[in-house]
């Protein structure tokens, strides 16, 4: 069963005034994501990959086409598609505990099971010692862990991640990627990740979807041979990276000649 299915989705942003033209961000994008599959959407900045994620989240609606999450048509944002944001988007007035519990309070679960859930997910992301801290007291990497715990706590059908590690420094980024692999090994999830980093997508994904430049179309769908077990600098790693890089550079050349 597919957890998420995107069917012939196009998105046109209408002109705001007479001076600028309407922008076609996505054109006829179709995508199937299976249960417990990790799919990365890869492309240049401005290729509409974040727009695609916003459409899946229900923050915006497609101009044409449709999106289904667990066979249910997506109309509004909902806890079946929780998102991890690049800027964390933690609630600064809530402690780590209450941030993680935010979605659970909305579900009107009794407080004992909320507390149990909070501790489970705080443990999972390695922050059980910091549940009483406020976000501003944490480092960027720790904040993103809170954000991941908060999104997982509502038990989404699909976890959406919008360039979650882009704001971190290189060391933190690769550490968070390793953490993500560990977390997913403990808590299997369907994930859609938007990124512009080829390495990140190879490290984390089962499937990599490469988008073209604007308007975004699906250029290629690549299966990673050994998902989350790829070791850098091995021949198979270099091969897939070369392949993706070629796809992306090819795109670059086309847009340069236009």
């Amino acid at each position: 069963m597919s957890a998420l299915s995107v069917k012939n989705v196009s998105k046109i942003f209408p002109a705001l005034n007479n001076k600028n033209q309407s922008v076609q961000a996505l054109q006829d994008v179709s995508l199937e994501v299976n249960e417990n599959e990790f799919v990365s959407i890869l492309g240049h900045s401005g290729c509409g990959k974040t727009t695609l994620l916003n459409l899946i989240a229900g923050f915006e609606s497609p101009t044409s086409g449709s999106i289904f999450c667990a066979e249910k048509a997506v109309k509004d944002p909902g806890a079946d598609r929780s998102m991890v944001f690049q800027d964390y988007a933690l609630f600064p007035w809530l402690t780590v505990r209450d941030n993680i519990a935010f979605g659970l309070h909305l579900k009107r679960i009794n407080s004992a099971s909320i507390e149990q859930s909070v501790m489970h997910f705080a443990n999972l992301v390695g922050l059980s010692a910091f549940v009483d801290s406020y976000p501003h007291q944490l480092s960027g990497g720790m904040r993103q862990r809170v954000s991941i715990a908060r999104a997982l706590a509502v038990n989404p059908t699909v976890l959406l991640m919008d360039e979650p590690f882009a704001a971190l420094d290189a060391q933190n980024r690769s550490m968070m990627q390793q953490e993500m692999i560990r977390i997913l090994a403990e808590e299997s999830k369907t994930v859609v990740l938007v990124t512009h980093s080829i390495e990140e997508s190879i490290n984390l994904s089962d499937v990599i979807v490469v988008l073209t430049r604007r308007p975004g179309r699906v250029k290629a769908v690549i299966r990673v041979p050994e998902p989350r077990k790829m070791i850098e600098d091995t021949p198979s790693y270099l091969e897939i990276r070369k392949k993706i890089r070629a796809l992306i550079n090819d795109e670059h050349d086309i847009s340069d000649t236009v």
Binding site: A57, D76, G78, A89, F91, L106, R150, L160
Partner: protein, 257 residues
Amino acid sequence: MTSLSWVLNLRRLILLAVLLCCWEFASRFILDKTQATLLPPPTGVLAGAVELAMSGELWKHIRDSLRREFIAFCYASVAIPLGVMMGCFKWINEQVDPIIEILRPIPPIAWIPLSILWFGVGNTQNQFIIFLGIFFPILLNTIDAVKNVEPNLIRAARCLGANHWSVITRVILRAALPQVVTGIRIGLGVGWMALVAAELVGANSGLGFLINDARTVLRTDFILDGMIAIGLIGLIIDRIIRIAARKLMPWSRALNS
């Protein structure tokens, strides 16, 4: 605070102390008797303050002024829900905004003549003027705060299962709070100024009444005491709100910086 930084803090008061000494000297030895009546020396002002405090007069006026400010603030806090609604719903903003834009530039003091005719001299008239002073800063800051809530916070709440109502109560109200408090601070300050003006002409008690009443009997020391009390209380109200905000919203960087 260490004893050393205490000493350094006292250093900041040197100029003030020198000026007070000059004032004392001028008032006692340079000015003639009539002039000295118009500018009593600091020690004379202090003696007047002691007299006012001992007789209970001062406390009565402070109490009346503070009560008016507080009651007016209670009414004016309706600006908070109104501001939230204006910030959240375009159609409410569309209808209410023109009215606000017309009323807002009118200084509260300009309402005094009309309000005396409407309410007579006394509490109601004073509270009305203070209300006008407090209301607009709170309203404008609330609208602004609600409009400037980080859009990703709203999105985050939505994708965690919050409906529109929960977004307002659990995100917008909380995120807007620091700036609403700033609006309250400014509002109480403006209200305090308006209060004194209103009491000057339309009251039988209060600090504004005290200084105006002292003028008629040429007690310049009482006038200065009243002025100092007005300044000090305004400062104290502001400080209390600042400290309370920092204690209640430790996460708010806007207020900490």
